[in-house]
């Protein structure tokens, strides 16, 4: 049985179509990514999943339960880490967890035990009595994540969990998420960090303008749509362009930079660097970012 089943989901705000017929499913135990540029409809989709935003059309089922009929039961089993900090500044770190457990009707002794477990898991024990206002961005995000787990959810929903964090905090959070996934937790993640998605997601969709552009496993999608590797040439001159014109390859011309998508082998790269020029030529593995930009375009969004 799928944990999440979304079918033909739609949401309009006046003339703007935020979500335009989205269909996907999240299987038990996997980490599923919802990728897209800013304003693609990721957060709106997430908000419809837990009933925050009413949908205009489509069906939503979580844990096999219909969202219109069993919203409370569904919300009991979801852990949600929102994009914006919504920690309670009037409470201490530990009380943020214990107090949140109360909304799930978890008895106090269990809530306290769970809070201590989570503080330890996220290395926050030392800060248990601190007020929220003295925490750094990274600590706050760890606490947000800990709070999302207070009810032992069957599904963890993360809306851009590492936006605005420093590399250390991001790495730590990724490790913790990987560990949670290892314990069998189902995760639904939105992000626009491709490295994050590549590292965590078993399957993903890329959305733009409220529509799903592509769905699949990250590596398979990259291989299929981009290739094995990418040859980057900065400041290409006439000679380089003439050389590439004579070769069988896909070239993307960005003006002061050329991207050449290669299926496998490094013959073209070797030929180019030995016969034409080596300077400014780099061969690297194709990444999710290549795929993302290929699908959603390079122009700025906001």
């Amino acid at each position: 049985m799928d944990i999440v089943q979304v079918e033909s989901l739609r949401k309009h705000y006046g003339a703007l179509t935020a979500v335009d017929g989205v269909t996907f499913a999240v299987h038990k135990g996997e980490c599923f990514g919802l990728l897209g540029p800013n304003g693609a409809g990721k957060t709106t989709t997430i908000r419809m999943l837990y009933g925050y935003t009413p949908r205009d059309a489509g069906t939503l089922e979580l844990f096999g339960l219909d969202i219109d009929r069993d919203i409370r039961e569904i919300k009991k089993r979801i852990g949600l880490c929102q994009q914006e900090d919504s920690l309670d500044p009037d409470l201490t770190v530990r009380d943020n967890l214990v107090g949140y457990a109360r909304y799930f009707s978890i008895p106090k002794p269990q809530a306290q035990q769970r809070a201590d477990e989570l503080l330890e898991f996220f290395a926050l024990q030392g800060r248990a009595k601190d007020r929220i206002s003295v925490l750094s961005g990274g600590l706050k995000r760890r606490l947000m994540l800990a709070r999302a787990l207070v009810n032992n959810p069957d599904l963890l929903i993360l809306d851009e969990p590492t936006t605005g964090l420093d590399p250390q905090s991001r790495q730590l959070l990724w490790d913790k998420l990987a560990a949670l996934k290892g314990q069998g937790l189902t995760i639904l993640l939105t992000t626009h960090y491709m490295e994050e998605a590549e590292r965590l997601c078993d399957r993903l969709v890329i959305v733009d303008h409220g529509r799903i552009l592509i769905e699949g496993k990250p590596l398979a999608l990259i291989r299929e749509r981009v290739g094995h590797s990418v040859l980057e040439i900065t400041e290409p001159d006439r000679q380089v362009r003439d050389f590439l014109a004579g070769e069988e390859c896909r070239v993307e011309d960005l003006g002061n930079r050329l991207l050449v998508y290669l299926d496998d082998g490094d013959q073209l790269f070797l030929k180019l660097t030995s016969q034409v020029r080596a300077e400014g030529c780099t061969l690297r593995p194709a990444s999710l970012e290549d795929l993302f930009l290929k699908l959603t375009g390079r122009e700025l969004r906001e």
């Binding site: 949600l80 919504s86 500044p89 909304y103 799930f104």
Partner: protein
């Protein structure tokens, strides 16, 4: 606009109340001071300073000192202030700046319960203030018993009414600074012209009629009637006014907040 249905409200409403109560309890020593000290300051200022000028006067068939006259009004104003300010500034901060409602919406609670819980808490603050102030004023010998005991249920009712009015403002204001407007246009005139510091009869006829529309007028009438044991049939009309207004404004406040937050 979607009006709340009774089926949407569960025991979880109390969790919101509990959250605010536990925060309040952390600072209760400071929170308790204003309702204890404020009446003493007023009684000192009016009882010692102003009462000398006013002297004793005739009210509802009895000779009254000015201090006795205004003591119930102080409690009524406290009921209004505690509930109204809790559901305006404090609720707005929780909704808009602290994102507390957003966090709660990810739990089994629904928005209707969150808003109702906020208003119940605001009314509770009115009850706490009334109990503390009432005790101080009673110790000064200004209230009569057992009538004054009715102030506690009155504080709950009045608290809910002014909480609903505050929440309606919260649902409608574009930003936190806009609260000045309902305070300047509604709360301050009510504070002055609801039979608080002088009998309504001293107003010109048309102004008396306007004052009869104000919720604080009826709360003051009831609180004064109970605390000083001035029983009259018109108190039933005031009670009916408060009950009707609360029964309409409470669900209206929830519906307007849902309209504001759910998009």
């Amino acid at each position: 606009m979607n009006w709340p249905k009774p089926s949407q409200i569960s025991h979880r409403t109390l969790r919101v109340w509990q959250r605010n109560f536990s925060v309040y309890r952390r600072t209760w020593k400071i929170s308790f001071l204003p309702p204890l000290i404020e009446p003493l300051l007023y009684i000192l200022a009016f009882g010692v300073g102003l009462a000398v000028l006013v002297g004793e006067f005739h009210y509802a068939g009895r000779q009254l000192s000015y201090t006795v006259f205004i003591a119930p009004a102080l409690v009524s104003v406290a009921i209004m202030y505690n509930a109204f300010f809790e559901c305006t500034y404090n609720s707005f901060v929780r909704m808009y700046y602290q994102k507390t409602f957003d966090a709660l919406l990810a739990t089994p609670l629904n928005l209707e319960e969150i808003i109702l819980g906020e208003m119940l808490w605001a009314a509770t603050k009115s009850v706490i203030a009334t109990t503390l102030m009432g005790t101080v004023i009673s110790l000064c010998g200004l209230f009569e018993f057992p009538g004054a005991l009715l102030l506690i249920p009155l504080a709950l009712l009045g608290g809910l009414l002014f909480a609903a009015l505050g929440m309606i403002c919260t649902a409608l204001v574009p930003g936190i600074e806009t609260f000045n407007l309902p305070i300047f246009l509604g709360i301050t005139p009510m504070f002055l012209f609801s039979g608080t510091f002088f009998p309504l009869q001293n107003l010109p006829g048309w102004a008396q009629s306007v004052a009869q529309l104000l919720p604080l007028t009826h709360l003051v009438a009831l609180v004064r009637g109970c605390a000083l044991q001035f029983w009259s049939a018109s108190l039933w009309l005031s009670l009916l006014y408060l009950l009707t207004a609360t029964a309409i404004l409470l669900p209206l406040a929830i519906a307007l907040m849902v309209r504001r937050i759910v998009k």
